[in-house]
Symmetry: C2
Subunit: 129 residues, 2 copies
DNA sequence: CTAACCGTACTAAGTCACTTAATACAGTCA
DNA sequence: TGACTGTATTAAGTGACTTAGTACGGTTAG
């Protein structure tokens, strides 16, 4: 499911982009599976098809999906679920840890934080879209 | 030192806000110390005083500083260097770690990432502004 | 007191990204 | 053939951000 937040400062197309990226990377939408058409998704979300189009174009540019005129848009087979996004997130985690250390937070506290994270991640699989 | 990035999608006032927050929270600008005047900083950064004003107003709203008409703007005494921001960052780190685990990244890899973070943080103290 | 600072407030204008709308065209497929 | 697909284009509206200019009252050194 993709949720739009109109109060968010981030543009809609970017929220859709992020939302789809998550669905792809978590395997909620499998490789080679077809994404909803720009018009369909636009109708479901009550926004303009152009906005969806833009989100899809960005995703394609990033290699998360590819489009075939006349057929539809599909998830790339080479995404390696969690591989691409994992890299970004790890960089993020690294930067965050560095900053916290800079602020004087003891390393052990951060390590404990990481250990406790994601303890209840069993019933979260969704595929509704 | 505050650096502006005009390519950044984030507005200038927000970049200034973030930059000052960092200087305050790291102790580069001590509690009760006076911040540069809106006009001074505006001149230094070659932007409009109104934009600085907005950044200051946001910082005041968040409790990082307070302003006295006719005197200037000053860092709040109750900031607890690294306390406030540290809380936010820890929440962020926690969420990030949870997501990475969800993607199947082994805990030990994350722990190692945290251990390696912030190794070269000795010569970064600046006070130039 | 005066002049030079300070924060604050307001209006007007311009710019730009985002979004919508309305088409249009070509490819796919039952 | 008709109903879908993706893609492209132009035009318009909106809103946030930024600048510019001006103004007012408080503070402070000379």
């Amino acid at each position: 499911m993709i949720t739009l937040n109109y109060r968010d400062s981030r543009p809609i197309y970017e929220q859709i982009q992020e939302g789809l990226k998550r669905l792809i990377v978590t395997g909620a939408i499998a490789a080679e599976e077809r994404l909803p058409s720009v018009r369909t998704l636009a109708t479901q979300l009550s926004i303009n098809p152009n906005t969806i189009q833009r989100a899809y174009a960005e995703l394609e540019r990033e290699g998360y999906c590819y489009s075939v005129p006349g057929k539809g848009s599909f998830v790339s087979g080479s995404v390696d679920t969690g591989e691409k996004r994992g890299k970004e997130l790890k960089d993020h985690l690294f930067a965050l840890a560095a900053e916290l250390k800079f602020l004087g937070v003891p390393e052990e506290e951060l390590l404990e934080l990481v250990r406790r994270a994601g303890a209840a991640e069993t019933d979260k699989k969704e595929g509704t879209l």
